[in-house]
Amino acid sequence: MIEILAIPPLATVQDLGRDGHWFQGLGRAGAMDSLAHRAANLLLGNDEDAATLEIPLTPAKFRFHGRQAFALAGAPCGARLDGRALPRVWAGMAEDGQVLDLGGMSDGARVYLALRGGIDVPEILGSRSTQLREAFGGLEGRVLAPGDRLVPLGNETPLLPGHGLSLGLPPLRREGDGAITLRALPSTEHDDFSPAAQQAFWSTPYTVTPQSNRQGYRLDGVELTRAEIGELRSHGIVPGIVQVPGGGQPIVQLADSATMGGYPKIAAVIAPDLWRIGQARPGDQLRFERVDLAEAEKADRESDRLFAYWKRDIAALVRQLGSWT
């Protein structure tokens, strides 16, 4: 069991989200950085979908009760276990009474804490994710607070080397680029925007404003005007959709977005890049790079390949460890 000693205001239990109820008006929820969430789980031998703790903008502090395996992945935050510095992505053992300290984040916005077998919270409508607006799922449908205790579902100890296990996450930004590049496809109303607006959207950076949370990020940059103004009917929206309300500043819809919206959609960030938004913080710059379906498909395959490599490398290591014992 792990006890929360200190935690930022919006930490929640999340898995890969609640699929299949979009048609009934229930959004997906789920980890904002699904890549880091998966990495933390795989390192512990968990299912990729096991529930982890999503911690936005540390510091945070935990105490372990009983010897326990755990994993961390996501934004670099100078994690220390009883004073011993841990790598940014790490799985290992904590002893009874040890304190895990997550310091301030130097870059990125979220870090994921995984326990063996996943965090034990009830599965509701096929998922353990917290639906914050609807106040169910996760731990009592709410954000976590000091004094809360999280229990792992698994009780066996995974095979881990004494110094722990790590793996490399892809870089958040391209080398030498200050902005975070997001690959995106043009969406339904893209061509209704003026040529100048289209040009600006695909070439100039947009800044993440403080009005940004798990529902969506409001961005600030060159104003996007539509050439054709007409009343739009409400339509379905999904995470990654970039909508442009009347003011001309885009909003990226994210994990906790509503399922319907009435604003024109200029673009959709491709699924393999959604994790990058989850690691963007207010003040960061986002740049949208236009891709076509073939490139989106290639990106999908590449991200599948990355997970396959992770699994292969971890399995190889565990086999090796097993042969030593």
């Binding site: 008006g25 409400s234 399922t259």
Partner: protein
């Protein structure tokens, strides 16, 4: 983007989001009947690559994995299915239900009723009668879990949304615009005007039937006093009762 010579129904390939099938460009019961029946038929086909079938007031969005190899075949089947029947004359979905929901249209429960009645060109009493006389169809669910868009109200209720947003209406708020009522599942900001309130809970995450309303169901509001509504809050489903729809 809309072709003025187009006729209904029509299917648009949205590429990324799948296929949008529209049965009209304005909200009416026949187009909604068509949407509900077509969506049911698409679900029954279990076509490869289809991720979700969502019913809008007069449309069906079939989400298809844009990278699924069967995408083209699925799209062709959707077109064939659309042409195969006269969807607006389809029978109502089997097992649809009529919900009678106690609602207050007085005082704090109806902060914008007088304003909405004036826009609709009638008295407050006439407005309450217009909103409660006939059962309304659940046209679609969306925006929040189990949250219904109900219609279709008479033409006089083709009210625009407010220019500004109401910062927050409560869960259970009954709001009007564009010949529809939205019944709010959660406290929410909105551009729709609040004309009443009920205590019906639109989702029960732990329950057996987590989303009680389904597109095609009927909902009739039964006007009650604020005191009677307060009493209804303690009852299951906020006093709403359900029977097989005629």
């Amino acid at each position: 983007m809309t072709d003025p010579s187009s006729h209904w129904p029509r299917l648009d390939d949205l590429v990324l989001d799948g296929a949008l099938v529209r049965f009209g460009d304005r909200v009416d019961d026949a187009a909604n009947r068509a949407a509900v029946a077509y969506a049911e038929a698409v679900r029954a086909e279990a076509l490869p690559g289809v991720e979700e079938v969502a019913i809008g007031p007069v449309s069906v969005l079939v989400r298809i994995d844009p990278l699924a190899p069967e995408r083209a075949g699925t799209l062709a089947r959707l077109r064939d299915l659309l042409a195969a029947r006269d969807w607006p004359s389809a029978a109502p979905p089997p097992g649809r239900r009529l919900w009678t929901v106690p609602a207050s249209f007085e005082g704090d429960d109806a902060p914008q009723l007088a304003e909405a009645a004036a826009l609709a060109g009638c008295s407050v009493a006439e407005a309450i009668a217009a909103l409660t006389a006939e059962p309304l169809r659940v046209l679609s669910l969306g925006f929040a879990p189990g949250q219904p868009y109900l219609g279709t109200l008479p033409e006089a209720w083709n009210l625009p949304r407010q220019a500004g947003l109401t910062p927050q209406v409560p869960a259970g708020a009954i709001t009007v615009a564009v010949r529809q009522i939205v019944l709010f599942a959660n406290p929410s900001p909105t551009g729709w005007r609040q004309v009443g309130r009920c205590a019906f809970r639109l989702y029960r995450p732990g329950g057996e039937d987590p989303f009680p309303l389904r597109p095609g169901d009927l909902v009739r509001f039964e006007p009650v006093s604020p005191a009677a509504l307060a009493e209804a809050e303690a009852r299951p489903d906020g006093g709403a009762v359900c029977e097989a729809a005629p």
